[in-house]
Structure formats: structure tokens, C-alpha cells
């Protein structure tokens, strides 16, 4: 009886202590590549698999059935889990960088703006996941409109990391790996699509706390977000 009591109290203590200690979540890793994935990394995979004789389809940058079969063959021959998905281990075996994104480095001597795509995609993912696609593009457009606006910082990093500006930055969710749709939306926003017609504010009416924000001129509403000037 007593022994049980001691045991249960010890257990309770362990649980309390582990509750108090930090929970470390390491969710920043490269995206898995599988059916339907597109982009430069898929192209790299196809090129390498083709060079090594696993793949004989076109280098199209799209993960289709042929790529799937080639990846499975590669996995089988190299003692990896045969699932047809390029996860961390297959990634390492093929020789792709670990924390990869979806965009390619420029071919010539110019300066790359792929950092911009990543940062914008992360912001879009953190702010507007689950929103309609045009709503994600709109969030990206707001960030870019702020860069151009004199009342805001002049660089994308300045805008995104401006204190008190974006809630996910404060919470740290900005560091999560964005999904495909966030990347495509970031590209569209950088390429000039702006469904908001130049908005520099957006908020979710259900969670917004600032009174001041409602003094802005609202231009439209997409999904859960209101966009304004």
C-alpha cells in the first residue's frame, strides 16, 4: 500500500518537473518532396537520378509517376525506406541540401533575391495559412507595399521583423517551413499581383485588438482578413 503511494507521488513529481522544463520543438527541416511537388529541387533530383541511371523521363521539374518510380528504385538499391518520398534520408543520399527551399540560385553573376522569396513565403505561411490563395497573395502584397511606403522600413526584412508589426514574428511561428502554396503566393506577390490595390494594413476582425486599425480605409475583404490603406 505504502509502496504504491511513494511510487505514485514520485511519478507525480516527475510529471510536474517535466511539465516545467522546456519542450523543444525542432520543426525546421527541409520540405518533403513527393507526388505533385514542383520546382528546382525536383529538377535537381531528376537530373541526378537520370545521371545515375535510375530515371529516363524528362527533366521537367514536376514530380510525376516516372520520378516516383525512379525514387523508389533508388531507395530500394540504397537501403532506404521505399516510400517514393524524398524525405530527410533520401534527400541526404541524393545529395540535396538539408534545409532546402523551393527556389533556385541564379545562374549568372547577379545578386539573388531568393532570400526575399523565402522570407515572404514564411510570412505568408505564418499569417495566412488556410486562407484562399488570393488572400495569401494579398498578404504578400501588403508586405511589399510597406517596403515601398515611406511610413515603413525600406527593406523586406525591416518590414517583416519590425517590432509590434506582425503577430507571428512575436510568437516565433515565422520560423516554420512554408508550404508550396505560400511559395507560389510569394512569387506572385513579388511578380506584381496585388488583389488589394496597394493596401498597407490587414487584420482579422475576430482577433484584432487595436481600435486605431479601424480608422483605416478598408478596400476589401478576402477570407478572414480585412485589407486597408
Amino acid at each position: 500500500m505504502k509502496k504504491n503511494k511513494v511510487l505514485s507521488i514520485a511519478l507525480l513529481l516527475v510529471m510536474t518537473l517535466s511539465f516545467l522544463s522546456y519542450v523543444i520543438i525542432d520543426d525546421v527541416h527541409g520540405q518533403n518532396i513527393g507526388w505533385g511537388s514542383t520546382g528546382a529541387e525536383v529538377r535537381t533530383i531528376q537530373t541526378r537520378l537520370s545521371n545515375w541511371g535510375y530515371y529516363d523521363g524528362p527533366i521537367s521539374g514536376t514530380y510525376g509517376p516516372q520520378t516516383y518510380e525512379a525514387v523508389r528504385l533508388f531507395q530500394r538499391r540504397n537501403g532506404l525506406t521505399v516510400d517514393g518520398i524524398v524525405g530527410p534520408q533520401t534527400r541526404a543520399a541524393i545529395g540535396l541540401p538539408r534545409a532546402g527551399g523551393g527556389t533556385s540560385a541564379p545562374a549568372s553573376g547577379g545578386v539573388s533575391r531568393s532570400d526575399d522569396v523565402h522570407l515572404l513565403a514564411r510570412t505568408i505561411h505564418a499569417e495566412a495559412r488556410g486562407e484562399p490563395y488570393e488572400g495569401q497573395v494579398a498578404v504578400g502584397a501588403v508586405v511589399l507595399n510597406r517596403v515601398r511606403n515611406p511610413a515603413f522600413p525600406n527593406t523586406m526584412a525591416g518590414v517583416v521583423y519590425q517590432p509590434c508589426a506582425f503577430e507571428p514574428v512575436k510568437r516565433g511561428t515565422i520560423n516554420e517551413q512554408p508550404d508550396d502554396s505560400a511559395y507560389r503566393a510569394a512569387r506572385d506577390a513579388l511578380n506584381g499581383w496585388d488583389p488589394t490595390g496597394g493596401a498597407i494594413y490587414f487584420w482579422n476582425p475576430a482577433t484584432a485588438t487595436s481600435q486605431w486599425i479601424w480608422t483605416r480605409e478598408i478596400s476589401l475583404r478576402i477570407g478572414r482578413h480585412v485589407f486597408a490603406h
Binding site: 511513494v6 545562374a107 515601398r148 515611406p150 513579388l190 499581383w193
Partner: protein
């Protein structure tokens, strides 16, 4: 044995308590360290801010009393640098945006305006009376701002220094400065880096000029008509269930926001579009479909885009830039009038490389700017313009182009595509004065090229 058992529980609890206390003290110390570190960083930024505003103010004063244009350019340049630095410091302080918006804007615009004045002085022109007055006005606001900042700083020092305090005090006090600046409105000069290689983000001159009245004409259309416009434009692309989900207002174009279903698109891949109220034009269109294997090449895609623009009634459009990525291709079109490329009249089309679907359309530049222009004959000849280029540059192509300027005007230029070392540039020489208006550095990505 019984005795030992009695003490087990208190001993375990005691050890746990000590353990937790040590852990707690450690956590407390650590968080205090972080707090102090952050506090000091923000303090430093705040002092820097004051320094930059003071310097900007002093340099501007010196510029105004300078006798020669050279001295003036020198001091104005310094003012530009100090203003931008001040703006940068201010925007990274954790202050409420609503309270410091106007101050941020003021610092930016002081930098922008002085940049324009530097350029003017460098061209050997004297500033006119109105411009001198603007500088005086800017100077007095800079003065006011630095006084307030110094007061704030003294207050903070007197009360003991803490970042939390700084944040509270600054939010309250700058509000007063803010109110006084509200009625000041300078021309916003967006392009600061004239005559400096500038990165192209999405083709030359695609930045839309905001705050400008559109030249769009036509009758206002109703909600139902807007649905008809979209239906007709994409009649061969199986769009159904078009629904007007909202209005667009307080922008350059008021209009309707539509969504629709499209055959071949998956769940949650509805297409969306904005249609202008006036004239019923498609302002933007977005199809978020994930594309499959590429079947088309660049030229086929350009043909599709061109035909699509023709069915919408946009004739005489030439493609100026393409970039392909992730199975899609983005094509920029500019209007061509009398063999002159008119960059401000810009339309972007995105085509899926798997089945040729139109994935995107963006017409704001065209709708904003398009009209038949009186294009004057160039004052200087092509050869004269060519002499303005550096002799090291290898000219690949030259043509006449109408480009937008920071003053929201347009100027006729010779557009030279040149190769210098590893990089290609677009250089624009003013066709009247022979001055160099703009240099664009072309960043060639894997699939991005300029169509000439």
C-alpha cells in the same frame, strides 16, 4: 525500517523543492540577462536615432546656407544619409505604429526630397524659391523632432532607465509630434537610387505609380455585368459558378471581387478576379492550380498569351520580359506605339506550361496609364546617345522607349541593352537632353530572360 519509510516522502519532496528552486533562480537570472540585453540594444538605437535626426537637421541647415552648388550637394547628400539612418533606427524600435507613422514618413520623405535636390544640383541647376521653402520647412520639422527626442531622452535619464519606460514615454510623447506633422504632405519620390544599378524584380518599370488618377474611361457596370465580363473572357476555359463575393473600394480602381470554379482545378483551388466598375475590365485574375509536366515552350506560351490579350481587346502589345518557374511562365507585355515601347502601359500574363491555361492576368499598369500619346521626335540621334555610354560596354540592342520617371511623368529615351563583364544592363539615355536617366541591372535567373 518503518522509520525510514516515514521519511521517504518528505526527503523526496525536499530534494524536488531544492531542485525546482535552483532551476527557478537560473531561469530568472537568464531572463533578466535577456531583458537587460534587449533593453540596452533598444537604448542604443534610441540614442542613435537622436544623433541621426540632429545631424540631418544640422546638415540641412548647412546645405541651405551653402554658396556653391558643390557644397550644397555635399551637405544634401549627408542629410539624405542621416535621414534614412534615422528612419531605419526608428522603425526598429518597439513603438506603436499608429503613434510614429508620420514621423517615419517624415524622415523617409526628407531623405527622398533631398535626393531629388541632390540630383538637380548635380545637373548644375539651382534650386528655385519653392524648393528652398520646402527645405526650410523640412528643416523646421527636423528641428522640432530633435527637440522632442532630446526632451524625451532627458526624461528617461531623470526617471532611471528602463526599456519598458522608454516604450511607454515614447508612445505618449511622439503622439504630440505626430499631430503637428499630420498636415504636412510632400511629394513622395519613390525611386531614390537614380543613376545607380538597380535590381529588376519583375521586368523593367513594372512598379505601378500609385496615388495617380487612372485614365480609364467607360460606363460603370453592375455586379451581374462583372460576372459576364469574366465569363466571356474565359469562355473557352470551363469556368463555372462565378460569384461576386465582395467589392473593392478606396483604391485607384473601385470594382468587384469575384470567385469561380474551374474544371481541372482541385479542391480549394478556386480562381479569383478583380473587375473594375468603370468600363468592366479585368484588373487581376489568379488561378492557383498546381501545374504538371511542361509540354509547351516559351514561344508557344507567348503566342497563347498574345491571343488571349487580343480577345480581351488589347492590341499592339509586345512581350518585353519572360520568366519561367515551377511549370508556369510569366510574360510582361508593353504597349507599342509608332515603334516606341511604352513601358508604363504594362500587362502581365501567366501561362501554365502543361496545358496552356491562363494562370494569371494583371493589368493595373495599362489601365492606369494607357492613352494615345504625342511622341515627339528625339532631339538627339542614336549615335549621339551611344556616345554617352561607357566605351567598355558592348551594345547588343537599341530602341526607343517611353519610361516613367519619379515625378510621375514619362520621358522618351533610347534603351540600350549592353553587356559589361559578366552582367547585362539596360541603360536609358534621355532622347532630348542626352542625360542618363536610368540604369537597370538584369539579373538573369535560370529561366528568366529579357525578350528583345
Amino acid at each position: 525500517m518503518e522509520k525510514w519509510k516515514r521519511y521517504t516522502l518528505p526527503v523526496i519532496l525536499g530534494i524536488a523543492l531544492i531542485g525546482t528552486s535552483i532551476w527557478g533562480v537560473y531561469q530568472y537570472n537568464q531572463s533578466r540577462d535577456y531583458h537587460t540585453y534587449l533593453d540596452l540594444q533598444f537604448q542604443r538605437q534610441f540614442y542613435d536615432l537622436i544623433g541621426h535626426v540632429e545631424n540631418a537637421q544640422v546638415d540641412l541647415a548647412k546645405a541651405m546656407v551653402s554658396g556653391s552648388t558643390n557644397d550644397m550637394a555635399k551637405f544634401l547628400n549627408e542629410t539624405v544619409f542621416q535621414s534614412y539612418m534615422a528612419q531605419e533606427k526608428l522603425t526598429q524600435l518597439p513603438l506603436n505604429h499608429a503613434n510614429i507613422r508620420q514621423v517615419e514618413k517624415f524622415l523617409s520623405q526628407m531623405g527622398d526630397y533631398c535626393t531629388a535636390m541632390v540630383n538637380k544640383t548635380l545637373e548644375g541647376q539651382l534650386l528655385d524659391e519653392e524648393e528652398m521653402e520646402t527645405l526650410t520647412e523640412l528643416h523646421s520639422y527636423a528641428n522640432l523632432l530633435s527637440q522632442h527626442l532630446i526632451e524625451l531622452q532627458q526624461q528617461i535619464v531623470a526617471d532611471g532607465v528602463n526599456f519598458g519606460d522608454l516604450r511607454r514615454e515614447a508612445n505618449r510623447d511622439l503622439d504630440a509630434v505626430n499631430d503637428r506633422m499630420t498636415d504636412m504632405n510632400l511629394i513622395n519620390i519613390e525611386e531614390r537610387m537614380q543613376d545607380y544599378p538597380e535590381l529588376i524584380y519583375d521586368g523593367p518599370f513594372s512598379e505601378h505609380m500609385k496615388d495617380r488618377k487612372p485614365r480609364l474611361e467607360g460606363e460603370e457596370i453592375q455586379r451581374d455585368e462583372a460576372i459576364g465580363v469574366l465569363q466571356e473572357a474565359f469562355s473557352d476555359q470551363n469556368i463555372s459558378n462565378i460569384e461576386a463575393v465582395g467589392g473593392i473600394q478606396n483604391t485607384a480602381f473601385t470594382g468587384y471581387y469575384l470567385r469561380a470554379q474551374k474544371e481541372g482545378n482541385g479542391d480549394g483551388e478556386e480562381v479569383a478576379a478583380g473587375i473594375t466598375k468603370q468600363g468592366g475590365h479585368i484588373l487581376w485574375y489568379i488561378n492557383p492550380r498546381v501545374v504538371g509536366d511542361s509540354q509547351l515552350d516559351e514561344n508557344e506560351a507567348i503566342d497563347i498569351a498574345e491571343q488571349f490579350l487580343q480577345t480581351l481587346g488589347y492590341d499592339d502589345m509586345v512581350s518585353t520580359y519572360t520568366i519561367a518557374y515551377e511549370g508556369q511562365i510569366l510574360i510582361n507585355f508593353a504597349y507599342m506605339q509608332d515603334d516606341v515601347i511604352v513601358y508604363p502601359d504594362l500587362i502581365k500574363v501567366k501561362v501554365a506550361l502543361d496545358n496552356g491555361d491562363i494562370l494569371g492576368l494583371e493589368t493595373e499598369g495599362y489601365l492606369m496609364n494607357h492613352h494615345e500619346r504625342e511622341i515627339a521626335e528625339p532631339e538627339i540621334s542614336e549615335d549621339e546617345a551611344r556616345e554617352k555610354l561607357t566605351s567598355a560596354a558592348e551594345v547588343e540592342n537599341v530602341r526607343l522607349a517611353m519610361i516613367p520617371t519619379e515625378g510621375q511623368d514619362e520621358v522618351l529615351c533610347y534603351e540600350f541593352t549592353v553587356q559589361l563583364g559578366e552582367d547585362r544592363y539596360l541603360i536609358y539615355i534621355h532622347a532630348e537632353t542626352g542625360h542618363q536617366r536610368q540604369i537597370l541591372l538584369m539579373v538573369e535567373q535560370e529561366d528568366g530572360t529579357l525578350v528583345i
